[in-house]
Symmetry: C2
Subunit: 92 residues, 2 copies
């Protein structure tokens, strides 16, 4: 396959990743609502450790664990900030 072919494949993978990141954000928003009802904190370091452990377990390469964790730290940052915004706005 040539570079254009691989890029087409990557574009398809990216559209799928976007869909999953949105499903993840929707689930995180639901958790945000439940947390607001019970006054639980948005930042739970123990849960974030579990998330990183889960992705390490799921990782069969070629991405090294450390690089994968690097990506997930950004994903968790974004999800945390969305939950906080929703909690501050008091939106349903």
């Amino acid at each position: 396959m040539d570079i254009a072919g691989w890029r087409k494949q990557i574009d398809g993978i990216d559209r799928h990743i976007v869909e999953l990141l949105n499903a993840r954000a929707a689930a995180a928003a639901e958790i945000g609502k439940l947390k607001r009802n019970t006054e639980m904190p948005v930042y739970e370091p123990e849960r974030e450790k579990q998330v990183l452990e889960n992705i390490r377990q799921a990782n069969s390469g070629p991405l090294p664990d450390l690089e994968l964790q690097h990506i997930y730290e950004r994903i968790l940052d974004v999800m945390r900030s969305l939950q906080k915004h929703e909690m501050q706005d008091g939106r349903p």
Copy 2:
């Protein structure tokens, strides 16, 4: 659904995202090999713009475009650094 239920759902989504990120890294590695053969540069700003345009088009929310782009900037950083390493190591 309670918080534990949503978290179980998120863990499943994360395992799927990990799989796709690895498929993406494998495709990027193939591009890296082709670039090495033709002495093309690893960093191609025009291609990165296309990637960001593709994910914006694919985004139907609830993640705002800007937050999604924030995650993708990290993904592209990691992919670029992997391609560079492979090119320096000269590994197949």
